[in-house]
């Protein structure tokens, strides 16, 4: 039997498909849906992560400049230049306008250490955020600060410069 099928596309556009194409597309769609059901059953988004994603909204910082991640030695440095070994050093740079926050991450998965530097240097109240945990690590007059041990996972820094009280928050990044 030869027949054609009209299929509505987005916004009412119409396309005519030959029967063979329709059959192929139907087979593909069925197979894809079978896989989708399989993935939904065997590897769903863990419920605790859905809650965490909803909660992320409450942690956003509204009254601060956002310092975006502009350099990460893990991806922005030649493979050969990476320091390999048990004590890997990862360098991260965040920038907003004329302020940069340079961060060095060392340590193992269970206990990360962080050393930071504000550029230009100066005193600041610094908070290291890891989910609900907030660790204070004030920067000295040379703009240096440090913290640890931190656990592996998403981290973001929040700074308030002294005496200007300029507030800056960095992008979240997984350490």
């Amino acid at each position: 039997m030869t027949r054609s099928l009209w299929i509505s596309g987005p916004r009412g556009s119409r396309a005519i498909c030959l029967e063979a194409d329709v059959q192929d597309e139907r087979d593909d769609t069925e197979l894809e849906e079978g896989l989708r059901r399989l993935a939904a059953r065997l590897d769903p988004v863990p419920t605790r992560l859905l809650h965490a994603a909803a909660e992320s909204f409450t942690w956003r910082t509204i009254d601060a400049d956002l310092a975006e991640l502009v350099f990460d030695s893990l991806v922005d440095q030649d493979e050969a230049a990476l320091v390999r070994g048990p004590e890997q050093v990862r360098l991260l740079s965040f920038e907003t306008g004329d302020l940069a926050i340079e961060v060095e991450i060392t340590g193992t998965e269970s206990a990360r250490s962080l050393i930071g530097q504000l550029v230009p240097p100066g005193r600041a109240a610094v908070e290291i955020r890891q989910g609900d945990d907030v660790v204070a690590a004030d920067a000295d007059e040379l703009g240096r600060f440090s913290a640890g041990p931190l656990r592996a996972g998403p981290v973001s820094l929040r700074c308030s410069t002294r005496p200007e009280r300029r507030r800056v928050v960095t992008d979240w990044v997984t350490i």
Binding site: R26, T47, A53, L66, V75, P154
Partner: protein, 243 residues
């Protein structure tokens, strides 16, 4: 939700022509149903409905203005995509969880700064891909490519998949077919596994989001999908080699 939203995904376009292909043969029936503000997250058939770009933009703007209900709508609409991207890059449960959380935390800080809120799904997919690559490079927890890497079989906080399979009446019937499909999936090329793992997110992502997730041209998503599904069909022995 307006009814045309169900037409936004290529994989759903045939619903009307082939009712029963999807669990949501009733999908069109949810038109007009309130699907936002479900918190805690509720799992029902509405989670299958993709977020139309216009709806995504509306939710993003509302969330930027402080509307947590709209934010939860984004979480419902795009969590499956973000998780699938982390999985497509073969991250362990712990690493995939970090990537997932980082992507959403980053969106929370960027929500008012996103230039094209209608493409927020692609923004999330791109963010998750980049974060997954960082984590894959930096972590000692990355597990090697094998046939189970794209699906986690060991959620500590979920029912075991074996139990989930047994619990489902549908699965009991399809058990053999499921195992065959599972094995066949693991035999696909890495590229096919990555593409399909993202494509089969719930709700189904659009091709722009899939392209962003895998850093590939939008135009090659459809042809690659067709090729990978054909390979999969061969591997499961459902068509002859001559097809």
């Amino acid at each position: 939700m307006r009814s045309q939203f169900v037409w936004s995904s290529p994989s759903l376009r045939l619903t009307a022509a082939f009712p029963g292909v999807l669990r949501g043969g009733e999908l069109t029936g949810v038109a007009g149903t309130h699907r936002h503000g479900v918190y805690p997250y509720s799992r029902d058939q509405r989670e299958d409905v993709p977020v139309h770009p216009e709806e995504a933009a509306r939710l993003a703007r509302a969330a930027a203005a402080g509307d947590s209900v709209a934010w939860n709508g984004l979480v419902e609409g795009f969590s499956g995509l973000v998780w699938s991207v982390a999985r497509a890059y073969r991250l362990s449960s712990a690493d995939a969880a970090d990537v997932f959380q980082t992507a959403w935390l980053r969106l929370a800080e960027h929500i008012g700064r996103i230039e094209k809120p209608e493409h927020i799904g692609a923004w999330l997919a791109t963010t998750a891909r980049r974060e997954a690559l960082r984590v894959a490079r930096g972590s000692s927890r990355v597990i090697p490519t094998d046939d189970t890497a794209l699906f986690d079989l060991g959620h500590a906080d979920e029912a075991s998949p074996e139990q989930a399979v047994l619990d489902s009446e549908q699965a009991a019937i399809d058990h053999e077919r499921t195992k065959r499909l599972w094995r066949a999936f693991g035999q696909l090329s890495a590229r096919c596994q990555e593409l399909l793992r993202v494509l089969i997110a719930t709700p189904p992502p659009n091709y722009a989001e899939v392209a962003a997730a895998l850093d590939m041209p939008v135009g090659s998503v459809g042809p690659t999908r067709a090729r990978c599904l054909q390979k999969l069909r061969r591997l499961t022995g459902e068509v002859s080699e001559t097809v």
